[in-house]
Protein backbone atom coordinates (compact mmCIF):
# COMPACT_ATOMS: atom_id res chain seq x y z
CA UNK A 1 0.00 0.00 0.00
CA UNK A 2 1.23 3.44 -0.87
CA UNK A 3 1.35 6.07 1.80
CA UNK A 4 2.13 8.71 -0.81
CA UNK A 5 -1.45 8.86 -2.05
CA UNK A 6 -2.56 12.42 -2.61
CA UNK A 7 -5.04 13.36 0.06
CA UNK A 8 -7.50 16.17 -0.34
CA UNK A 9 -8.58 18.02 2.75
CA UNK A 10 -12.04 19.57 2.77
CA UNK A 11 -14.14 21.34 5.34
CA UNK A 12 -16.99 18.88 5.81
CA UNK A 13 -19.62 18.00 8.35
CA UNK A 14 -19.55 14.40 9.54
CA UNK A 15 -22.68 13.79 7.50
CA UNK A 16 -21.03 15.11 4.36
CA UNK A 17 -17.90 13.09 5.10
CA UNK A 18 -20.00 9.91 5.26
CA UNK A 19 -21.75 10.91 2.02
CA UNK A 20 -18.34 11.33 0.35
CA UNK A 21 -17.35 7.89 1.58
CA UNK A 22 -20.58 6.53 0.11
CA UNK A 23 -19.90 8.30 -3.20
CA UNK A 24 -16.43 6.77 -3.33
CA UNK A 25 -17.54 3.29 -2.28
CA UNK A 26 -20.35 3.71 -4.84
CA UNK A 27 -22.78 1.07 -3.53
CA UNK A 28 -25.24 -0.46 -6.00
CA UNK A 29 -28.36 0.23 -3.96
CA UNK A 30 -29.25 2.75 -1.22
CA UNK A 31 -32.78 2.36 0.16
CA UNK A 32 -33.28 5.13 2.67
CA UNK A 33 -35.80 7.29 4.50
CA UNK A 34 -34.86 10.73 5.85
CA UNK A 35 -34.74 11.52 9.57
CA UNK A 36 -32.94 14.12 11.67
CA UNK A 37 -29.97 14.10 12.26
CA UNK A 38 -29.16 11.57 9.57
CA UNK A 39 -30.75 13.58 6.76
CA UNK A 40 -27.60 15.54 5.78
CA UNK A 41 -25.91 12.23 4.97
CA UNK A 42 -28.50 11.10 2.51
CA UNK A 43 -29.16 14.61 1.24
CA UNK A 44 -25.51 15.02 0.29
CA UNK A 45 -25.39 11.53 -1.19
CA UNK A 46 -28.58 12.15 -3.20
CA UNK A 47 -26.94 15.26 -4.62
CA UNK A 48 -23.95 13.18 -5.70
CA UNK A 49 -26.33 10.77 -7.46
CA UNK A 50 -28.26 13.64 -9.08
CA UNK A 51 -25.01 15.17 -10.29
CA UNK A 52 -23.84 11.88 -11.76
CA UNK A 53 -20.99 11.59 -9.27
CA UNK A 54 -22.38 8.35 -7.76
CA UNK A 55 -24.17 5.58 -9.61
CA UNK A 56 -26.11 3.93 -6.76
CA UNK A 57 -29.82 3.18 -7.11
CA UNK A 58 -31.33 5.53 -4.53
CA UNK A 59 -34.65 4.03 -3.46
CA UNK A 60 -37.11 6.40 -1.77
CA UNK A 61 -38.85 3.90 0.47
CA UNK A 62 -41.84 4.79 2.64
CA UNK A 63 -40.29 4.02 6.03
CA UNK A 64 -37.17 2.75 7.75
CA UNK A 65 -38.83 -0.64 8.17
CA UNK A 66 -39.00 -0.75 4.39
CA UNK A 67 -35.50 0.68 4.03
CA UNK A 68 -33.93 -2.22 5.89
CA UNK A 69 -36.26 -4.73 4.23
CA UNK A 70 -35.25 -3.47 0.79
CA UNK A 71 -31.62 -3.46 1.88
CA UNK A 72 -31.81 -7.14 2.86
CA UNK A 73 -33.28 -8.14 -0.50
CA UNK A 74 -30.75 -6.06 -2.35
CA UNK A 75 -27.70 -7.16 -0.36
CA UNK A 76 -28.63 -10.83 -0.60
CA UNK A 77 -29.46 -10.52 -4.30
CA UNK A 78 -25.84 -9.57 -4.84
CA UNK A 79 -25.74 -5.77 -4.71
CA UNK A 80 -23.57 -3.75 -2.36
CA UNK A 81 -26.11 -1.91 -0.20
CA UNK A 82 -25.93 1.00 2.21
CA UNK A 83 -28.49 3.00 4.15
CA UNK A 84 -28.68 5.51 6.99
CA UNK A 85 -30.97 6.31 9.89
CA UNK A 86 -31.36 7.77 13.40
CA UNK A 87 -33.38 7.29 16.57
CA UNK A 88 -37.06 6.60 15.82
CA UNK A 89 -36.08 5.51 12.33
CA UNK A 90 -33.86 2.85 13.86
CA UNK A 91 -36.62 1.93 16.30
CA UNK A 92 -38.97 1.32 13.37
CA UNK A 93 -36.18 -0.50 11.54
CA UNK A 94 -35.18 -2.62 14.54
CA UNK A 95 -37.40 -5.59 13.76
CA UNK A 96 -35.75 -5.93 10.37
CA UNK A 97 -32.24 -5.22 11.69
CA UNK A 98 -32.44 -8.51 13.60
CA UNK A 99 -33.47 -10.25 10.39
CA UNK A 100 -30.63 -8.64 8.42
CA UNK A 101 -28.17 -9.99 10.98
CA UNK A 102 -29.80 -13.40 11.00
CA UNK A 103 -29.79 -13.60 7.20
CA UNK A 104 -26.16 -12.46 7.30
CA UNK A 105 -26.80 -9.53 4.98
CA UNK A 106 -23.66 -7.34 4.85
CA UNK A 107 -25.47 -4.00 4.79
CA UNK A 108 -23.63 -0.87 5.90
CA UNK A 109 -25.71 1.70 7.79
CA UNK A 110 -24.68 5.17 8.91
CA UNK A 111 -26.40 5.89 12.20
CA UNK A 112 -26.62 9.49 13.34
CA UNK A 113 -27.04 8.76 17.05
CA UNK A 114 -30.07 10.53 18.53
CA UNK A 115 -32.08 10.06 21.71
CA UNK A 116 -35.09 7.79 21.48
CA UNK A 117 -38.51 9.22 22.29
CA UNK A 118 -39.95 9.98 24.70
CA UNK A 119 -40.01 12.70 25.41
CA UNK A 120 -39.36 13.44 21.77
CA UNK A 121 -35.94 15.00 21.23
CA UNK A 122 -33.68 15.32 18.21
CA UNK A 123 -30.28 15.55 19.88
CA UNK A 124 -27.56 13.07 20.60
CA UNK A 125 -27.37 10.18 22.94
CA UNK A 126 -26.69 6.51 22.33
CA UNK A 127 -30.05 5.05 23.29
CA UNK A 128 -30.91 4.27 19.65
CA UNK A 129 -27.76 2.17 19.27
CA UNK A 130 -28.50 0.40 22.52
CA UNK A 131 -31.93 -0.57 21.25
CA UNK A 132 -30.20 -2.88 18.74
CA UNK A 133 -27.38 -3.80 21.10
CA UNK A 134 -28.03 -7.53 20.86
CA UNK A 135 -29.35 -7.67 17.30
CA UNK A 136 -26.14 -9.19 15.95
CA UNK A 137 -24.90 -6.12 14.07
CA UNK A 138 -21.44 -4.60 14.33
CA UNK A 139 -21.46 -1.11 15.85
CA UNK A 140 -18.46 1.18 15.37
CA UNK A 141 -18.58 4.42 17.37
CA UNK A 142 -16.56 7.27 15.90
CA UNK A 143 -15.18 10.38 17.60
CA UNK A 144 -15.22 12.94 14.80
CA UNK A 145 -15.97 13.56 11.11
CA UNK A 146 -12.65 12.13 9.96
CA UNK A 147 -13.30 8.90 11.79
CA UNK A 148 -16.84 8.78 10.44
CA UNK A 149 -15.30 8.88 6.96
CA UNK A 150 -12.60 6.31 7.74
CA UNK A 151 -15.00 3.90 9.44
CA UNK A 152 -17.45 4.14 6.54
CA UNK A 153 -14.69 3.24 4.07
CA UNK A 154 -13.71 0.30 6.27
CA UNK A 155 -17.26 -0.91 6.92
CA UNK A 156 -18.08 -2.72 3.64
CA UNK A 157 -14.90 -4.81 3.87
CA UNK A 158 -15.77 -5.79 7.44
CA UNK A 159 -19.42 -6.54 6.66
CA UNK A 160 -18.67 -8.57 3.53
CA UNK A 161 -15.75 -10.60 4.86
CA UNK A 162 -16.72 -14.26 4.37
CA UNK A 163 -16.09 -15.02 8.04
CA UNK A 164 -18.22 -12.06 9.14
CA UNK A 165 -21.20 -11.43 6.84
CA UNK A 166 -22.97 -9.16 9.30
CA UNK A 167 -24.56 -5.72 9.00
CA UNK A 168 -22.24 -2.94 10.12
CA UNK A 169 -23.47 0.30 11.71
CA UNK A 170 -21.17 3.30 11.71
CA UNK A 171 -22.40 5.32 14.69
CA UNK A 172 -21.73 9.06 14.69
CA UNK A 173 -23.09 11.40 17.32
CA UNK A 174 -26.08 13.35 16.03
CA UNK A 175 -25.39 17.06 15.41
CA UNK A 176 -22.05 17.02 17.27
CA UNK A 177 -20.56 14.97 14.42
CA UNK A 178 -23.26 14.84 11.73
CA UNK A 179 -23.65 18.64 11.54
CA UNK A 180 -20.31 20.05 12.71
CA UNK A 181 -17.84 21.04 10.00
CA UNK A 182 -14.25 19.92 10.44
CA UNK A 183 -11.29 19.49 8.11
CA UNK A 184 -11.58 15.98 6.67
CA UNK A 185 -8.95 14.27 4.55
CA UNK A 186 -10.49 12.40 1.65
CA UNK A 187 -8.81 9.54 -0.14
CA UNK A 188 -8.54 9.37 -3.87
CA UNK A 189 -11.68 7.79 -5.39
CA UNK A 190 -9.62 5.07 -7.08
CA UNK A 191 -7.91 4.15 -3.80
CA UNK A 192 -11.27 3.71 -2.10
CA UNK A 193 -12.49 1.56 -4.98
CA UNK A 194 -9.34 -0.55 -4.75
CA UNK A 195 -9.74 -0.89 -0.97
CA UNK A 196 -13.40 -1.93 -0.98
CA UNK A 197 -13.03 -4.17 -4.05
CA UNK A 198 -15.84 -6.05 -5.70
CA UNK A 199 -18.96 -7.07 -3.77
CA UNK A 200 -19.03 -10.82 -3.23
CA UNK A 201 -21.28 -12.92 -1.04
CA UNK A 202 -21.32 -16.72 -0.97
CA UNK A 203 -24.93 -17.29 -2.06
CA UNK A 204 -26.34 -14.42 -4.15
CA UNK A 205 -30.09 -14.86 -4.47
CA UNK A 206 -30.16 -14.00 -8.16
CA UNK A 207 -27.75 -16.81 -8.95
CA UNK A 208 -30.63 -18.78 -10.51
CA UNK A 209 -28.68 -21.89 -11.59
CA UNK A 210 -27.60 -22.32 -7.97
CA UNK A 211 -30.95 -21.38 -6.47
CA UNK A 212 -31.05 -21.28 -2.68
CA UNK A 213 -33.67 -20.81 0.00
CA UNK A 214 -32.71 -17.98 2.36
CA UNK A 215 -34.12 -16.96 5.69
CA UNK A 216 -35.79 -20.31 6.32
CA UNK A 217 -38.07 -20.98 9.26
CA UNK A 218 -36.11 -22.50 12.14
CA UNK A 219 -37.85 -24.60 14.75
CA UNK A 220 -36.43 -25.51 18.17
CA UNK A 221 -34.17 -28.03 16.41
CA UNK A 222 -32.20 -25.32 14.51
CA UNK A 223 -32.93 -21.83 15.90
CA UNK A 224 -30.26 -22.07 18.59
CA UNK A 225 -27.56 -23.15 16.11
CA UNK A 226 -28.39 -20.38 13.63
CA UNK A 227 -28.42 -17.79 16.41
CA UNK A 228 -25.03 -19.04 17.54
CA UNK A 229 -23.60 -18.44 14.06
CA UNK A 230 -23.95 -14.73 14.79
CA UNK A 231 -21.90 -15.12 17.98
CA UNK A 232 -19.15 -16.84 16.00
CA UNK A 233 -19.36 -14.27 13.19
CA UNK A 234 -19.02 -11.47 15.74
CA UNK A 235 -15.88 -13.11 17.14
CA UNK A 236 -14.48 -13.17 13.60
CA UNK A 237 -15.48 -9.53 13.17
CA UNK A 238 -13.13 -8.51 15.97
CA UNK A 239 -10.20 -10.27 14.32
CA UNK A 240 -11.06 -9.00 10.83
CA UNK A 241 -11.51 -5.46 12.13
CA UNK A 242 -7.98 -5.51 13.56
CA UNK A 243 -6.61 -6.62 10.18
CA UNK A 244 -8.58 -4.03 8.22
CA UNK A 245 -7.56 -1.23 10.57
CA UNK A 246 -3.94 -1.97 9.68
CA UNK A 247 -4.68 -2.22 5.97
CA UNK A 248 -6.58 1.07 5.90
CA UNK A 249 -3.86 2.74 7.94
CA UNK A 250 -1.47 1.81 5.13
CA UNK A 251 -3.51 4.02 2.81
CA UNK A 252 -4.66 6.83 5.10
CA UNK A 253 -1.82 7.03 7.59
CA UNK A 254 -4.55 7.18 10.26
CA UNK A 255 -5.49 4.36 12.57
CA UNK A 256 -9.13 3.66 13.39
CA UNK A 257 -8.85 2.20 16.88
CA UNK A 258 -11.41 -0.39 18.01
CA UNK A 259 -10.03 0.46 21.46
CA UNK A 260 -8.08 3.65 21.93
CA UNK A 261 -5.79 3.94 24.94
CA UNK A 262 -5.25 7.64 25.52
CA UNK A 263 -2.46 8.54 27.97
CA UNK A 264 -3.15 5.43 30.01
CA UNK A 265 0.50 4.68 30.76
CA UNK A 266 1.07 5.07 34.50
CA UNK A 267 -2.46 6.39 34.89
CA UNK A 268 -4.25 5.80 38.18
CA UNK A 269 -7.63 7.21 37.18
CA UNK A 270 -9.35 6.82 33.84
CA UNK A 271 -12.59 7.30 32.00
CA UNK A 272 -14.14 4.83 29.58
CA UNK A 273 -16.46 6.30 26.98
CA UNK A 274 -17.38 6.37 23.32
CA UNK A 275 -18.35 8.90 20.69
CA UNK A 276 -17.62 12.60 20.30
CA UNK A 277 -17.34 13.32 24.04
CA UNK A 278 -13.96 11.61 23.92
CA UNK A 279 -12.62 14.69 22.14
CA UNK A 280 -13.59 16.95 25.06
CA UNK A 281 -12.34 14.40 27.58
CA UNK A 282 -8.95 14.14 25.86
CA UNK A 283 -8.46 17.90 26.21
CA UNK A 284 -9.19 17.60 29.92
CA UNK A 285 -6.82 14.64 30.26
CA UNK A 286 -4.09 16.70 28.57
CA UNK A 287 -4.71 19.63 30.90
CA UNK A 288 -4.65 17.43 34.02
CA UNK A 289 -1.56 15.60 32.78
CA UNK A 290 0.13 19.00 32.44
CA UNK A 291 -0.58 19.36 36.15
CA UNK A 292 1.00 15.94 36.69
CA UNK A 293 -2.23 14.19 37.51
CA UNK A 294 -2.09 10.52 36.50
CA UNK A 295 -5.26 10.42 34.40
CA UNK A 296 -6.12 8.74 31.13
CA UNK A 297 -8.91 7.66 28.87
CA UNK A 298 -10.11 4.52 27.18
CA UNK A 299 -12.26 5.08 24.13
CA UNK A 300 -14.38 2.27 22.77
CA UNK A 301 -14.38 2.43 18.95
CA UNK A 302 -16.08 -0.92 18.52
CA UNK A 303 -19.03 -1.48 20.83
CA UNK A 304 -20.03 -4.60 18.90
CA UNK A 305 -17.98 -6.69 18.87
CA UNK A 306 -16.91 -5.48 22.30
CA UNK A 307 -13.12 -5.84 22.71
CA UNK A 308 -13.47 -7.35 26.19
CA UNK A 309 -9.99 -8.81 26.55
CA UNK A 310 -8.28 -5.65 25.37
CA UNK A 311 -10.42 -3.61 27.77
CA UNK A 312 -9.43 -5.86 30.65
CA UNK A 313 -5.75 -5.54 29.75
CA UNK A 314 -6.07 -1.78 29.50
CA UNK A 315 -7.72 -1.50 32.93
CA UNK A 316 -4.99 -3.43 34.75
CA UNK A 317 -2.95 -1.15 36.94
CA UNK A 318 -5.64 1.52 37.28
CA UNK A 319 -7.14 2.41 40.67
CA UNK A 320 -10.32 4.22 39.76
CA UNK A 321 -12.33 3.98 36.57
CA UNK A 322 -15.51 5.81 35.61
CA UNK A 323 -17.50 4.28 32.77
CA UNK A 324 -19.52 6.95 31.01
CA UNK A 325 -22.74 5.84 29.36
CA UNK A 326 -24.71 8.09 27.04
CA UNK A 327 -27.77 5.89 27.51
CA UNK A 328 -29.48 4.87 30.71
CA UNK A 329 -30.95 1.52 31.65
CA UNK A 330 -33.80 2.10 34.10
CA UNK A 331 -33.81 -0.69 36.63
CA UNK A 332 -30.49 -2.11 35.46
CA UNK A 333 -26.85 -1.37 34.68
CA UNK A 334 -26.15 1.09 31.85
CA UNK A 335 -24.96 -0.86 28.79
CA UNK A 336 -21.33 0.28 28.46
CA UNK A 337 -20.81 -0.08 32.22
CA UNK A 338 -22.24 -3.59 32.10
CA UNK A 339 -19.81 -4.52 29.32
CA UNK A 340 -16.79 -3.06 31.06
CA UNK A 341 -17.73 -4.57 34.42
CA UNK A 342 -18.11 -8.00 32.81
CA UNK A 343 -14.77 -7.64 31.03
CA UNK A 344 -13.02 -6.38 34.19
CA UNK A 345 -14.27 -9.00 36.63
CA UNK A 346 -10.73 -9.79 37.76
CA UNK A 347 -9.38 -6.25 37.59
CA UNK A 348 -8.51 -4.51 40.85
CA UNK A 349 -9.68 -1.06 39.74
CA UNK A 350 -12.84 0.29 41.31
CA UNK A 351 -15.47 0.83 38.63
CA UNK A 352 -18.12 3.51 38.77
CA UNK A 353 -21.05 3.94 36.49
CA UNK A 354 -21.79 7.45 35.24
CA UNK A 355 -24.62 8.44 32.93
CA UNK A 356 -24.26 11.71 31.01
CA UNK A 357 -25.42 13.62 27.98
CA UNK A 358 -28.93 12.25 27.52
CA UNK A 359 -30.98 14.01 24.86
CA UNK A 360 -28.05 16.17 23.81
CA UNK A 361 -27.14 17.51 27.29
CA UNK A 362 -23.62 18.90 26.87
CA UNK A 363 -20.66 17.39 28.70
CA UNK A 364 -18.39 20.31 29.60
CA UNK A 365 -14.67 20.15 30.39
CA UNK A 366 -15.44 21.26 33.96
CA UNK A 367 -17.83 18.31 34.35
CA UNK A 368 -15.01 15.96 33.39
CA UNK A 369 -12.56 17.67 35.75
CA UNK A 370 -15.03 17.32 38.61
CA UNK A 371 -15.48 13.70 37.71
CA UNK A 372 -11.74 13.05 37.82
CA UNK A 373 -11.58 14.90 41.16
CA UNK A 374 -14.35 12.80 42.63
CA UNK A 375 -12.57 9.65 41.46
CA UNK A 376 -9.47 10.87 43.29
CA UNK A 377 -11.36 10.81 46.55
CA UNK A 378 -12.17 7.21 47.31
CA UNK A 379 -14.50 8.29 50.07
CA UNK A 380 -16.66 10.41 47.84
CA UNK A 381 -20.06 9.20 46.89
CA UNK A 382 -20.21 7.47 43.54
CA UNK A 383 -21.16 10.10 40.97
CA UNK A 384 -23.96 8.42 39.12
CA UNK A 385 -25.06 11.27 36.89
CA UNK A 386 -23.22 14.15 35.29
CA UNK A 387 -25.24 17.17 34.24
CA UNK A 388 -28.52 16.09 35.79
CA UNK A 389 -30.39 18.76 37.76
CA UNK A 390 -31.37 17.16 40.98
CA UNK A 391 -32.64 18.51 44.29
CA UNK A 392 -30.03 17.64 46.88
Amino acid sequence: MSTETLLTCELLTGGEAVAHAMRQIDPDVVPVYPITPQTPIIQAYAQFVADGRASGELVDVESEHSAMSAAIGSALAGARTMTATSSQGLALMAEVVYIAASMRAPIVTALGNRALSGPINIHCDHSDSMLIRDSGVVQLFVENAQEAYDATILAPRLAEHPEVLLPVFVCLDGFTITHSAEPVELLDDADVQRFVGEYRIPFPLLDAPEATTQGPFAMPDYYFELKHQQVAAMASAGRVLDELVGELEGITGRRYEPLERYRLDDAARALVLMGSSAGTAKDVVDELRDRRQPVGLLRIGSFRPFPAEAVRDALHGLDEVAVLDRADAPGGAPPLFAEVAAAAHDVAARLRSVVYGLGGRELHPDDIKELFDSLHDRASATPTYVGLRSRS
Binding site: M103, F203, A211, T212, G215, D221, E225, L226, H228, Q229
Partner: protein, 97 residues
Protein backbone atom coordinates in the same frame (compact mmCIF):
# COMPACT_ATOMS: atom_id res chain seq x y z
CA UNK B 1 -31.55 -33.75 6.96
CA UNK B 2 -32.53 -36.51 9.32
CA UNK B 3 -29.43 -36.03 11.43
CA UNK B 4 -29.31 -32.72 13.29
CA UNK B 5 -26.23 -30.75 12.33
CA UNK B 6 -23.99 -28.62 14.56
CA UNK B 7 -23.92 -24.87 13.90
CA UNK B 8 -20.58 -25.01 12.08
CA UNK B 9 -22.07 -27.23 9.37
CA UNK B 10 -24.95 -24.90 8.51
CA UNK B 11 -24.74 -22.34 5.71
CA UNK B 12 -24.71 -18.66 6.72
CA UNK B 13 -28.13 -17.73 8.06
CA UNK B 14 -29.36 -21.28 7.46
CA UNK B 15 -29.24 -20.94 3.67
CA UNK B 16 -30.70 -24.09 2.11
CA UNK B 17 -28.85 -25.44 -0.92
CA UNK B 18 -30.71 -27.39 -3.62
CA UNK B 19 -29.25 -30.75 -2.57
CA UNK B 20 -30.21 -30.12 1.05
CA UNK B 21 -33.80 -29.22 0.33
CA UNK B 22 -36.11 -32.13 1.14
CA UNK B 23 -38.63 -32.91 -1.58
CA UNK B 24 -41.97 -32.60 0.17
CA UNK B 25 -44.65 -34.73 -1.44
CA UNK B 26 -47.64 -32.42 -1.19
CA UNK B 27 -49.81 -34.31 -3.69
CA UNK B 28 -51.45 -36.02 -0.73
CA UNK B 29 -53.13 -32.72 0.14
CA UNK B 30 -55.53 -33.08 -2.81
CA UNK B 31 -59.08 -33.76 -1.75
CA UNK B 32 -60.49 -35.65 -4.71
CA UNK B 33 -59.77 -33.75 -7.90
CA UNK B 34 -56.64 -33.44 -10.03
CA UNK B 35 -55.93 -31.45 -13.19
CA UNK B 36 -55.89 -33.10 -16.61
CA UNK B 37 -54.68 -31.36 -19.76
CA UNK B 38 -56.21 -31.70 -23.18
CA UNK B 39 -53.07 -31.24 -25.27
CA UNK B 40 -54.95 -30.56 -28.49
CA UNK B 41 -56.63 -27.51 -26.91
CA UNK B 42 -53.44 -26.23 -25.24
CA UNK B 43 -51.98 -23.09 -26.86
CA UNK B 44 -48.87 -23.24 -24.68
CA UNK B 45 -49.41 -19.82 -23.10
CA UNK B 46 -47.95 -21.22 -19.83
CA UNK B 47 -50.38 -19.23 -17.69
CA UNK B 48 -50.87 -22.46 -15.71
CA UNK B 49 -47.12 -22.62 -15.05
CA UNK B 50 -47.09 -18.95 -14.06
CA UNK B 51 -50.03 -19.20 -11.68
CA UNK B 52 -49.29 -22.58 -10.09
CA UNK B 53 -48.49 -21.70 -6.46
CA UNK B 54 -46.30 -24.79 -6.25
CA UNK B 55 -44.00 -26.19 -8.93
CA UNK B 56 -46.50 -28.73 -10.19
CA UNK B 57 -46.73 -27.62 -13.82
CA UNK B 58 -43.95 -29.27 -15.78
CA UNK B 59 -42.32 -27.44 -18.67
CA UNK B 60 -39.91 -28.91 -21.17
CA UNK B 61 -37.89 -25.93 -22.32
CA UNK B 62 -40.77 -23.58 -23.09
CA UNK B 63 -43.36 -26.21 -23.83
CA UNK B 64 -46.12 -27.37 -21.44
CA UNK B 65 -45.30 -30.94 -20.38
CA UNK B 66 -48.03 -32.01 -17.95
CA UNK B 67 -48.31 -32.05 -14.17
CA UNK B 68 -46.22 -33.33 -11.28
CA UNK B 69 -48.91 -35.10 -9.26
CA UNK B 70 -46.56 -35.59 -6.31
CA UNK B 71 -46.57 -31.80 -5.88
CA UNK B 72 -50.01 -30.74 -7.17
CA UNK B 73 -52.28 -29.80 -4.25
CA UNK B 74 -55.37 -29.68 -6.41
CA UNK B 75 -56.05 -25.97 -5.93
CA UNK B 76 -57.55 -25.67 -9.44
CA UNK B 77 -55.86 -22.34 -10.21
CA UNK B 78 -54.42 -23.72 -13.45
CA UNK B 79 -57.83 -24.88 -14.64
CA UNK B 80 -59.30 -21.54 -13.66
CA UNK B 81 -56.62 -19.56 -15.52
CA UNK B 82 -56.46 -21.65 -18.71
CA UNK B 83 -57.83 -19.40 -21.51
CA UNK B 84 -58.83 -22.33 -23.75
CA UNK B 85 -60.30 -24.56 -21.03
CA UNK B 86 -57.67 -27.13 -21.88
CA UNK B 87 -57.34 -28.06 -18.21
CA UNK B 88 -60.19 -29.80 -16.42
CA UNK B 89 -60.36 -31.14 -12.91
CA UNK B 90 -61.00 -34.87 -12.89
CA UNK B 91 -61.42 -37.47 -10.11
CA UNK B 92 -58.26 -38.94 -8.59
CA UNK B 93 -58.82 -42.28 -10.25
CA UNK B 94 -59.29 -40.83 -13.76
CA UNK B 95 -56.66 -41.61 -16.37
CA UNK B 96 -54.22 -38.88 -17.29
CA UNK B 97 -51.48 -38.97 -19.90
Amino acid sequence: MAELRPWQELGPGGVVLPDDAPRRVTGGWRTGLKPRANRSACVNCLLCWLYCPDAAVLVDGEVFAGFDYELCKGCELCAEMCPTNAIEMVPEDADVD
